[in-house]
Amino acid sequence: MTCEYCQLLDQKGSIIYEDAEVVVAVKDTVITAGQITVFTKEHFTILEMVPDSVIQKCCVMSNKVSIAVFEALGAQGTNIIINNGLGAGQKVPHVALEIVPRRENDGLILQWQPKQLMEDEMETAYLLLKAEGDKLVNIGKKQEKKEVVNAQEPVKGKIQDKAGKKNYLMGSLRRMP
């Protein structure tokens, strides 16, 4: 059985953008019209298998796609969702970020009912996750060093991006009431 997303790559018709690591496509089965899917070019089943640099690229791309969706489709908001694992409702065994355009009163229920947990339940979740979280601090730092080495290749495109971002940021500051 071939993976649905890897198949999309072969057919090309629904691909909006692709490079060595990231693919952007319009699927035919979606939560709502205008939904865009960003996925890794290489076949990874779950998020945990994706190399750090590829995740970063996917996310930056998702933000760009999200901006494009705001501006091209007149969306008022976007949900970016990664369903990670069968238990999370992941339907295709290939890591993907779904960018769902939103409008006010669009009738989509992409929001959970908040729960009120007992204090001791919160506390156990906290202790369990904190113990793991504390171990992670160093990993994040190592990653940054790696990133510097990798960053040498695709400099050209990135400089332009940054300039655009800054301008936008300045613009948004000026325009806030």
Partner: protein, 227 residues
């Protein structure tokens, strides 16, 4: 918001109007509960912290172990965040997701971003939700439907065009005739050059009508919906 009289509110509104962008940002930060959590002024169950972001347990979780990962810097929506920080936030999400699968003993996790009020974003501070998932937990309803091909095509073209502009890619056009290609190039120039000018000059109400006329929704409008 604490109770304030109309007079106080008016004075405050007046004050906000005359703030410089830097002051305004500082003011928003002071108002933001999550910035106070980050500064340690409001207690929270912090499970992760580094120099750029923190992860805390959501007090009204979708499931036990629901974590919020947020940048320490105050941003309202994703387009305001520099690429590097976005990458870092999701990287932290990956590692925390790994930890979550392990210690919460769940078969899946969901990384969820609500970007803008219409997307269900409730806080004024951008955050990534990381939620432990189980089959049939009903956290969100992501029923999918089949999309008609013409609509799919329309979306494809519209988003592709804008995305290429954002990425600075000149579309690889299969040139059918030269005249046509020149025309598209000219249109692009028109869009690129004069746009920043009216944005800078016009302020306040004038600007709002401007965006309405264009039929689109500007990102600033989306950020502003929170106030």
């Amino acid at each position: 918001m604490p109770d304030i009289t109309d007079e106080q509110r008016k004075a405050l509104e007046e004050k906000i109007k005359h703030m410089s962008p830097e002051e305004l940002r500082e003011f928003q930060k002071q108002q933001c509960i999550f910035c106070q959590i980050i500064a340690g002024k409001v207690p929270a169950k912090k499970v992760y912290e580094d120099e750029k972001c923190i992860g805390v347990l959501d007090i009204n979780p979708a499931a036990k172990g629901h974590v919020l990962i947020m940048p320490k810097e105050h941003y309202v929506i994703m387009p305001q965040i520099p690429d590097k920080e976005i990458g870092h936030l999701f990287l932290v999400s990956k590692y925390l997701s790994q930890a979550m699968l392990k210690v919460m003993k769940v078969p899946g996790t969901m990384v969820y971003v609500a970007n803008g009020l219409a997307a269900g974003q409730k806080a004024q501070h951008f955050m990534v939700h990381l939620i432990p998932r189980k089959e049939g937990d009903g956290v969100i309803d992501s029923t999918e439907k089949l999309l008609d091909l013409p609509i799919q095509r329309k979306v494809h073209l519209a988003v592709e065009h804008r995305l290429n502009q954002l990425l600075g890619i000149k579309k690889e056009v299969v040139v059918i005739d030269d005249g046509k290609e020149q025309e598209t190039a000219a249109v692009e120039k028109k869009r690129d050059v004069p746009e920043p000018l009216p944005q800078d000059e016009k302020k306040g109400e004038e600007e709002e009508t401007e965006t309405e006329k264009e039929g689109g929704v500007s990102l600033d409008d989306i950020a502003r919906l929170f106030k």
